[in-house]
């Protein structure tokens, strides 16, 4: 038993589980992909920070890095990272209504409306980033 697991006052049966259990069906696989999305998100933010770090090395180094981002390898990474990031966003916003029940006075906002609000928020936030960074 690992150290972090709680110690119960009784012995529980632990069903043996192979490390490939998540390949057994589609739902398990998608669950694991959702978890994996966080790795791509983390890799992207670190790469994003690295680009800013290179600003401190001067225009030549920064320019070379920006040029290298046009290589096939980087583009492939960004395409995969984007797919994972969008998957994270969709699963996250779909969960919002289940986690956060919104009440206005005596009225409970329907879950579908909360989900729609979360997706609208995503669109507004994305549009704001495009406006500030790209326009």
């Amino acid at each position: 038993m690992s150290e972090s697991e709680p110690e119960y006052p009784y012995k529980a049966y632990r069903r043996p589980m192979p490390a490939t259990w998540w390949l057994r069906n589609r739902k398990y696989f998608l669950f694991m992909m959702r978890e994996l999305s966080s790795v791509f998100v983390a890799l992207f933010v670190l790469l994003y920070l690295y680009a800013f770090f290179l600003l401190s090395k001067g225009p030549v180094v920064y320019g070379e890095f920006q040029k290298s981002l046009r290589s096939g390898g980087f583009i492939a990474f960004y395409v995969v990272a984007l797919l994972f990031a969008v998957y994270h966003s969709c699963t996250w916003f779909r969960l919002t209504a289940k986690i956060q029940v919104v009440r206005l006075g005596r009225w409970t906002v329907p879950g579908s409306l909360v989900t729609a609000g979360a997706f609208m928020g995503w669109i507004v936030a994305s549009a704001a980033v495009v406006y500030f960074l790209a326009m």
């Binding site: 690992s2 150290e3 972090s4 709680p6 110690e7 119960y8 006052p9 589980m17 192979p18 490390a19 998540w22 694991m32 978890e35 994996l36 966080s38 790795v39 998100v41 983390a42 992207f44 933010v45 670190l46 994003y48 920070l49 680009a51 800013f52 770090f53 600003l55 401190s56 225009p59 920064y62 320019g63 920006q66 981002l69 046009r70 980087f74 583009i75 990474f77 960004y78 395409v79 990272a81 984007l82 990031a85 969008v86 994270h88 966003s89 996250w92 916003f93 928020g121 995503w122 936030a125 994305s126 980033v129 495009v130 960074l133 790209a134």
Partner: protein, 119 residues
């Protein structure tokens, strides 16, 4: 008896806010910085040295960048920790919590150093 880990709510909270930041802001940044400029959808100078330097010179943008980079690290640390358990990985000599959350804490320090120390 089962003992509650007092740190757990904090890490869950960080996971949650990191997840919100990742969900709201990361896709559009990946698209803009990784794809739109390199494949020519946006003007090439959108990410130019002068433009980015001016942007990062603004304290509000630094705070934004700090939030954008740091919080998803905690989100990832939490998910990686539980995914490793799910894959059957047992504790290493250093605890998994220390490895995953420690990584996120080190990341926070690095981000702070880059943003306030170098730029």
């Amino acid at each position: 008896m089962y003992k509650m880990d007092k740190g757990e709510p904090f890490w869950w909270g960080m996971f949650s806010v990191g997840g919100v930041v990742a969900a709201l802001l990361v896709p559009v940044h990946i698209f803009l910085d990784g794809l739109a400029v390199p494949i020519g959808l946006l003007r090439a100078d959108a990410l130019s040295y002068e433009r980015m330097l001016a942007l990062v010179g603004h304290p509000l943008f630094k705070v934004y960048l700090f939030v954008l980079v740091v919080l998803p690290l905690y989100h990832a640390a939490h998910r990686i920790r539980f995914s490793l358990y799910d894959l059957g990985v047992k504790e290493f000599r250093i605890s998994m919590d220390a490895l995953c959350y420690g990584g996120a804490l080190v990341g926070t320090g690095v981000v702070a150093y880059v943003l306030w120390g170098l730029l």
